[in-house]
Symmetry: C3
Subunit: 664 residues, 3 copies
C-alpha cells in the first residue's frame, strides 16, 4: 500500500522540481505519474525530440526516492500532427469533425494515427523502458473520456465493414442474425452497411450493438499495440491504464486482459453531481460523495486483471472543475477515500494532482498544493495517511495490498449495459443505475462484493447477483446451474435472460423457434415473463418484501410460475413481484436501493451470510483478518457490527468522516 501523485514538471520552473520531489517524499508519496500529455513538449517539431527536460525530471524524482509511472502521450496529439492528417480526428455523433484544442481528438480507427501512436510510444519506451526510476507504465489516458469511443469517421465506417465481414463471413449470416428483413433493411454486401447514426428514427438494435462492439474492439486494438511495444522495450515493468468511473462505452474487461494493473480515476464528488443520483442525494452527499461510488469501482477494477492488481491512479484531492457543481470535500474525506481504497485492495492511491495548475482548462481543479505551492487540505490529509501507513503494521511482510475475499459476486457485463441502453423501453431504465442500486443494497448490509465479468468463475461465491443481465450465454448458464446445484443463492434482476447475443428474443422451443425471458434460465428460475411494462412517473407499485414495504417503479414484469415456484412478494393485482425456486430468486421489477436491500436481506440469510442493516453512512470492509469501518455521515456512528476491542487505527464510535481498523 503506497501513496502516489500525478505530476506535470513541464508546467513548472525546473528550479522547483527538486523541492517538489523532496516534499512528495516527505509526505509519504512513493510513486509519481508523469508525461501523459507531454507530446507537444517531447516532439515540438515533427521528428525532433526534446528529451532533456524529461530526463531531468525523471532523474530528479528518482534521486528523491520516488518511482515513476511513465505514460504514452497519445491522448493529446499535437496540432502539427492534426494539420498533417486532418482526417485523423474523430467525427462526432452529429457528423462534425472534433476540433483541436482540448484532448482525445483522435479517431481510434484511423490507420495513420495508429501508426503515429506506435511511433511515439516506441520513442518514449526506447528512452525510458530500462530506466531504473520507471516502476510502471500507463497507456494513453482515460480511453473514452468525453464520449470519444464512437466516431462517425470514414475510417470507422470502413473498419466496421471489415469487422462485420470477419464476424459474419457472409452477408446472409448477418441478415439472419440481425433480422434485417424488418423494415426492408436487407443488405446485399458488407459494403452497403453504414454506421447506425443519424437515421430517421431509431436504428436497428443489432446494428447498433455490433457498432458498440466494434468500437470497443478498436479501443482494445489501439491499446494492445502500445502494450506490445512496452513489453518489448520495458520488460518486467507492469503496464496499466487509467479507467474512469461510471464509464461503459467500451469493454474494460477486454482492455484489461492486456494489462498488468487496472487503475481508475476516482472523483467521488464530481461523479455524485454528474450521474443518476436524485437531487436529494446530490445535496446529501455533496461533500463526501455517495459512499458506494468509490467502492463500486474499486470492486469492479479489482476484477479486471489476472492477479487482481489495481490502483487508484487519480484520487480527488479537493474540489474539481468539471462537474455541474464542484463542492469542497469535508475535512477528513480525502483521508477517508484513501483508506477506503486500501480496504478494497488498492496497491496505490495516487492523488491528482500535485499542484493546482495556474492556467488552462483545469486551473480550478485543486491539487495537494495550491498554485502558489502552499499546502491545501489534500496535502494535509495525504500526509496523515502517509504517516499512518508508516506507523501501522497491518501485515508482517508489509503487504502490497490487503486481501479482499468477497462472498458475494455481482455480474457486471459491458455488453449487457449496451443492450439495455440501446433498448431501454422506458426513459429511466438505466442499467448502470440498476447495477449500482443492487450494489448499494449489498453494501448497506455490510457485505463485501466482487464485481465480475459474465465469464467469471463463480464457484467461490455464496451469493450471486445478476441485477441487469439480459444475455445469458451458455457458459454463464452453466456457471449458474452449477452454483445453484451447490446451493449458492442466485438473484436475477428484471430482464434477465431476455435477449440473445444479437439483441433479439432468446431462442426457445416454440413453433417459431423463439422463447420468452428468462430464456436459458427459465427452468432454473421456474418463471416465464409473459409481459413487461415500463412505468411512467407517478405509477409506483408498492410491494412488501420480508415485511418491509418497498416501491416497484420504472419497470414491472408479469410472470407465469412453474409448479413449485414460490411467491415471496406480490403486486396488488396478485402477480408475483419476487419469486424463489430453490436457491434462485427473480425480481419482477425495478428496485431502488431500499428495495434491493430488502430482497438481498433474504437472499443473504438463505446464503448463510451475516448481513446486517448498517446505519446510514456507515460502511464495512473485510480484508483477511482485518475489519475496516468508514463513516461517511455527519454524525458519530456506532453499530453492533463493530468490535468492542480497541482498533489498530481510529476509535469507536466513529466520528464524522472517521475510520477504524480492527484485527479480528
Amino acid at each position: 500500500m503506497q501513496l502516489g501523485v500525478c505530476y506535470y514538471p513541464e508546467h513548472w520552473p525546473r528550479a522547483q522540481w527538486a523541492e517538489d520531489a523532496r516534499r512528495m517524499h516527505a509526505m509519504g508519496i512513493r510513486v509519481v505519474r508523469i508525461a501523459e500529455f507531454a507530446w507537444s513538449v517531447i516532439e515540438a517539431e515533427p521528428g525532433v525530440f526534446t528529451w532533456d527536460w524529461l530526463d531531468e525530471a525523471v532523474e530528479t524524482l528518482h534521486a528523491a526516492g520516488l518511482g515513476v509511472v511513465m505514460c504514452t502521450p497519445t491522448a493529446t496529439p499535437p496540432k502539427w500532427l492534426v494539420d498533417r492528417m486532418p482526417d485523423m480526428v474523430a467525427i462526432d455523433l452529429q457528423g462534425r469533425p472534433r476540433g483541436f484544442g482540448s484532448r482525445r481528438h483522435y479517431c481510434f480507427s484511423h490507420a495513420g494515427y495508429r501508426a503515429e501512436s506506435r511511433r511515439i510510444s516506441r520513442a518514449v519506451a526506447e528512452r525510458y523502458g530500462q530506466h531504473p526510476a520507471v516502476v510502471a507504465w500507463q497507456t494513453d489516458n482515460e480511453y473514452g473520456c468525453h464520449d470519444t469511443v464512437l466516431s462517425l469517421s470514414e475510417s470507422a465506417r470502413q473498419g466496421f465493414r471489415r469487422w462485420l465481414a470477419a464476424r459474419y463471413t457472409t452477408i446472409d449470416a448477418l441478415n439472419t442474425a440481425w433480422g434485417t428483413v424488418f423494415w426492408s433493411q436487407v443488405y446485399r454486401s458488407f459494403d452497403e452497411i453504414d454506421l447506425p447514426a443519424l437515421t430517421v428514427t431509431e436504428a436497428h438494435p443489432a446494428h447498433r450493438l455490433d457498432w458498440r462492439r466494434f468500437s470497443s474492439d478498436e479501443v482494445v486494438a489501439f491499446n494492445r499495440e502500445q502494450v506490445a511495444i512496452l513489453r518489448e522495450l520495458s520488460p518486467g515493468r507492469p503496464v496499466s491504464h487509467n479507467f474512469m468511473g461510471f464509464f461503459t462505452e467500451f469493454n474494460h474487461h477486454d482492455v484489461a486482459a492486456d494489462l498488468d494493473i487496472a487503475t481508475w480515476d476516482s472523483y467521488p464528488l464530481g461523479v455524485t453531481q454528474m450521474f443518476f443520483l436524485s437531487a436529494e442525494e446530490k445535496a446529501r452527499w455533496a461533500r463526501t460523495g455517495h459512499p458506494d461510488i468509490p467502492s463500486f469501482h474499486h470492486d469492479l477494477y479489482r476484477g479486471m486483471c489476472r492477479d487482481g492488481r489495481w490502483w487508484v491512479m487519480e484520487q480527488q484531492p479537493g474540489p474539481v472543475n468539471w462537474a455541474h457543481w464542484n463542492p469542497a470535500p469535508h475535512d477528513g474525506t480525502v483521508r477517508l477515500w484513501t483508506w477506503q481504497a486500501f480496504a478494497h485492495g488498492a496497491e496505490v492511491v495516487s492523488y491528482f494532482r500535485w499542484r493546482q495548475a495556474p492556467f488552462a482548462q483545469e486551473q480550478m481543479h485543486t491539487g495537494l498544493l495550491r498554485p502558489d505551492a502552499s499546502e491545501d487540505q489534500g496535502a494535509i490529509e495525504a500526509a496523515q495517511v502517509g504517516a499512518e501507513l508508516a506507523a501501522l503494521t497491518l501485515d508482517e511482510a508489509g503487504p502490497v495490498r490487503l486481501a479482499v475475499q468477497a462472498p458475494v459476486a455481482m455480474v457486471f457485463d459491458y455488453a449487457a449495459i449496451w443492450m439495455l441502453q440501446i433498448q431501454p423501453q422506458g426513459a429511466d431504465f438505466n442499467p448502470l443505475e440498476l447495477q449500482f442500486r443492487a450494489y448499494e443494497g449489498l453494501r448497506r448490509l455490510g457485505l463485501d462484493v466482487d464485481l465480475v465479468p459474465a465469464d467469471a468463475d463463480l464457484s467461490g461465491y455464496r451469493l450471486i447477483v445478476l441485477a441487469a443481465q439480459p444475455q445469458i450465454g451458455s457458459a454463464l448458464q452453466a456457471s449458474l446451474e452449477a452454483a445453484a446445484a451447490r446451493g449458492a443463492q442466485i438473484v436475477l434482476g428484471p430482464r434477465a435472460g431476455s435477449k440473445s447475443a444479437h439483441l433479439s428474443f432468446p431462442a426457445g422451443d416454440s413453433p417459431t423457434g423463439h422463447g420468452l425471458p428468462p430464456g436459458p434460465l427459465s427452468a432454473l428460475a421456474g418463471v416465464q415473463v409473459r409481459r413487461v411494462a415500463s412505468l411512467p412517473p407517478g405509477c409506483a407499485e408498492p410491494v412488501v418484501v420480508g415485511g418491509q414495504s418497498v416501491q416497484i417503479t420504472r419497470w414491472r414484469e408479469d410472470l407465469a410460475l412453474a409448479e413449485g415456484t414460490e411467491v415471496l412478494a406480490a403486486f396488488a393485482d396478485g402477480h408475483a413481484a419476487l419469486t424463489r425456486r430453490g436457491p434462485v430468486r427473480c425480481v419482477a421489477g425495478w428496485l431502488d436501493a431500499d428495495g434491493w436491500q430488502a430482497v438481498l436481506t433474504g437472499a443473504a440469510a438463505d446464503a448463510g451470510l451475516a448481513a446486517q442493516a448498517l446505519p446510514e453512512g456507515l460502511r464495512l470492509s473485510r480484508a483477511g483478518d482485518l475489519l475496516l469501518a468508514f463513516n461517511f455521515s455527519d454524525r458519530c456512528l456506532d453499530a453492533p457490527a463493530l468490535p468492542t476491542a480497541a482498533p489498530l487505527l481510529g476509535q469507536r464510535p466513529l466520528p464524522p468522516r472517521g475510520l477504524a481498523i480492527w484485527r479480528t
Copy 2:
C-alpha cells in the same frame, strides 16, 4: 364491422403461415394487411422481383377466408436504391442527410424517387391488382412519421420555387402577399428564395407557412401518383392510407380527397405519454389512455373521405415500444378501444400486429401473440370482440358500420394549426391542445362531435365550435353567417379571425386597409380584439362561467364590444372573458377542459342539446338508435344518462373498462 390484423409473413417460417391464418380466422379476424415494408424482399436486387413468397402468403390467407389489404412498400426503399441515388434522402432540419437504417428516409420532392415509387407501386399492383384476395390497398405507410414531411434538400428547394411561381405568378405579388419589405427581405425572382430554415432568428411567417403548404402538397402529389396506378390496375378496390394520431405536418384532408377509406393508427397509451397531457394526466391515464384521444381521431378521420368510410388500421394490442414510457393496458382495455372505434363508425379495427417480432426495432412492441406464438392478452380480448360481433345483431342487414349523426361540429383545419404553430406568441400556446381541450369539454358532456374541415357543409349542425381558427376564409364566413341565421350556436375560441391567408392581419376598413380580429367575423360576433397577451406560468386569471369558477391561462384578449353584445363572464379587471351576441359566443382566452366544459354547457343548452356532465371516465356515443357507454375509469360507474333497460351487451353499472350497448 370487422376485425383485422397486420401481418408480416416475411418475418416467419413459411410453415407457420397456414396455422397463423387459421388462428386469425378463428379469432374473428377477417382482414389482414401485409407487405408495406417488404420492398427489399420483393426486389432484393434492382429489377429482380421475387414474388413467390408473397403469392403464397396471399393464397394462404385467402384460403383461410381472410381478405388482404395490400400495400405499396415505398416507406422503406432498400439500401441499393439509396446507394444508387444518394440525394434521394431527405435533409433534416439541421441540414444533415437522413441516414439509411430505419424507415421513411426518402425526400418527397426527389423526382428520381418519385419515379421509383411509381415503378414499384406499378409492379405490386400489376401482380395483385386483380387478385380475389385483395379487398383494399394501402399507399405507403404513415406519411410524415418521424418528422419526415419537411426536407431541406435541393430537390425541395427547387420544388418550392416552382410551387411559389405557380402560386404567385409574379415575384411582386409574392413580395406584397408576404410583406417582404419587412427586414429587407424583398426578392427579385423566385430563384432567390430559399427554404426558411437555419435563419439567424425566426424566418418570415408567410414564408414558413407557404413552405408548410408546399411540403404538404408534395405528400399529396406523391400519394396521388400511387393512387392513380392502383385505380388503373386494381379497379373497384378501395384505396386507403394509414394516418397517425396528433399528427398535423401535412393536410390530411387533401390526401384523403384522393382516397376511398381513411385509416389511422391508434396507440392510446403511447400517445398519452408522448403528447401535451400534464404529468398528472399521464399517470392517471397510463393504462387506459386518455378516453378522448381515440375518439378525437375517430371523429376526425370519419370526416376525411367522401362517404365517411374509415378504419383503425393499427390498434394497440398491449405495451408498445416507442413512447418515453410504455405501460401495459389494464385487462379489458383492448376490447374497450375496439368497441369505442365501432361506436364512432369504424368499419374495421385492425390490430398491430399479429405476433410480436422477436428482433429489430419493434421487438418490444407487443402483438396479439407473443414471439413464441402463445396468446397475449390482446388475442384474448380480440377473440372476445370477435365473438361479440358474431353474436350481436345490431342491424338486420349487419351494418358495415354504425351510423353516427353528430349534432356538434368542430372545425379542424390543418393550415390553422400551422399558423398558430408558426407564431404561437406564447411558449405553451399549442393549437392542437386547444382543439383537444374543447373536444374533451364536449365529450364530458356526452355530446357526439364531427371534426370537419374549414370548407365543410355546416348546415346540419346545431352547435359549431371553432376552438383554434385564425383564418376565416370567405366560404367559412358565409357558412357561419348562414348557421347563425338559422339559429345554430357558434363558439369562437381565442385568435379566431386574427389572420389572413398569408398569416398577416386580416383586411379591414381602416385607413391602412388592415383590420383587427376577429376580422370577417367582427360584425357577427360583435367584438373587436384590442389587445392580446400570452400569460406566463403563475399568471392565471379566474373567471366565473355559468356559476363555475374556471381559470384562464396562457392567453387572454381585451375585447371592445359592439352595442348589444352581452358579457357572460368577465376578468377581474372588468374586461369581457366570454361574450354572446345572438347565437355567437366569443372566448377571450385559453381554456382547459374544465373551462371549455363550462362554456359549452351554456352553448349546448342554447342549442337545445341535452348535455349533461358525465362522471369522470364515462363516455357516451349515439349511433342510429344505439346508445353505447364506455367506462375508462377504475371504478364501477353509473349515470342518469344511462338507460334502465337491459343492454344488448354489457351491464349497468359499468365495471371498470366495461362497456354497454342499448337500443333506445
Copy 3:
C-alpha cells in the same frame, strides 16, 4: 427631454405619411428613427438606388416639425448581396452557415461585406448627411442580436490569427501567456490556431477569452468604419448605436468610445421573461417588469459616452412578440418606464414602434397604434408624458436631460463577464446576475448608482462595488487604493482579483510566481482565498449579516485573514463570510438581492450614505435638486423617504404604477 418613435414609412401607403407625422407631433413626439432595415428598398437592384420614397418620408417628417434619426441599413443586407457573396454570412457555433430570411446574417470579419457596409453607409450619408431634418445617426441595428458576434467563418479564423499575431508578436509569447503546455496545446505558428469551437471538451480558457476579445474588436472595427463615413459626410450630427439589454457578447464601452450618444432598446417585460429571474419573479413582475431591469441599463449606458449622453432608442409600448411569454403591461406602466428613463438621465425616450406591423415576423409586437391606425394604450400614455413634459418646468432652461450624480459606483467590465462565463465553475454562476443582484440591493436602499468601466475615474464616489470582477488591472488597483486611502467604502464580491488578463491565476510572490485571489487586492482587503467551492442546489449556507439572516448559495470561499481583518459574518463552520479591513469589505460567497442588500446596508452606513430599505416595488432617483419616486407595485405606496411637500407631478401616496417628482 424628448419623446421619439421608430417609424417604417416603407411599410405603409404614402398617403398615410403626413397624417402619421401630424399625429406624432400632436402626441408630443419630436424625434423619429427611420430606415435601419430599408436596404432592399433603397437599393432594390445592385447599384440602382431608389431615393424618392425616402426623400419624401424625410421631408414629410421634417415638415411636421420632427427631427429624423437616419440609420445605416447594414443589419439586413439584401438577398442579391448574399447570393453574390455567399461566404459573407456568419457561421454558427454548430458550424452551419446562417441562412437568409431574417436579419443580422452577416459575418463581421468578412472583408467583402465590410466594403459593402462602407459603400451603402456612404450612399446614405451622401444623400442625407447635410439634410436639415437629420438630427442624429444610428449605425446598423442592435449589434450582436440573436448571438451574432461569434462566427466560425474562415474570415473570422484568418482574422483571429492576424489579431493574435498583432497582440502577441511571437508565438512563444502566446504559448506562455495562455499556458498551452497544458494538454499538449503548444503552437508553432499563429497559422496553427483555430477558433476554439467544437472541441472534444472545453477549449482552452485563454484561447476562448482572446476569441471573445477578437470578436468584440471586430464589432468595434465594423462600427468605426461607419462612424468615420458619417463624421466625414454629416459633420456635427451625433452618431449613436442602439445597444440591447443584458447583452454582453461584445464590449459596449469600446464601441461607445466611437459614438456621441449611447442608446439602448428597453423591453422590460420581454427581458423579465427571458433572463435569469426565478419563476416566482417572472410571475410577480410579468406586467411591469422587474423594477431594476430598466434602470440597471439606464445607469450602464449613461456611463458609455464621453458626455454621458444616452437615449432609450426603443421603448416597449405594449406586449412584444419575442419572449417565451408576452404579457401586457398594466395601464400606466409605459408612462412609468418613460419617466424612469428621464429620471436616470435619458435625453430621448423613443417608442418602438409607431404602428404595429400587420405582417411579417413582428406583427404581434405592439406599437403606439394598432395596425388599423387606432390608438393603442401606448399612444395614450405617450401622449400623457408628452403633455406632462410640456407642462412641467423642471429647469428654467429646459434641460436636455436631468443631472444624475450618483454616490455609488459599480464596476461593470465586459471582459469580467466573459471570464466568468468561460469558467463559471458552477452551473448557476451567472456573473451578469451577480452584478444585477448587487445593483438590486443598492436600489432597494434608494441609492443612485453609476455603472462604470474598469478604467473609470473612481475619485468621485463614496461607495464602490465590484460584484464580479475577477481581473484587477494595475490602473484599477491604483484607483481602488486611492479610493480606500480617502475613505471611500469598497465592497469586493466573490472571485474578485482571482484572474490575470489571460484568465489564469494572478501573479504572486511565491516560489511558483503565482498568487491566490484576490491577487493585487490581497493587501488592501486583508484576505487570501484558500479554497473555493460551487454549492449544488440544496446546499445553501445561512449567514447573519447586520442582524439579518441571509443565504449563501451557489458559491463560497474559504478565506485566510490577515491580522486586523474583521469578521462581520461567519459561516456555520467558523470561516469568514464577510470581512472588513478599513474601508474594504469582502464577500466570500454568492448573494441574492436580500444578501447584497444586507451587506450594502452596512457599507452604505460606513460611507455616510442615507440608505433606507424601501417598500417592495418603490424606487427613488435623485437628479440635481429633484427627487423622483416610482411605484412598480400593485399597491398604493408611501415611505418615510418621500417628502411631505406637494410634488411637482403626481401625489403621495403613490398609486400603483404611479410616480411623483419633488424639488428638494
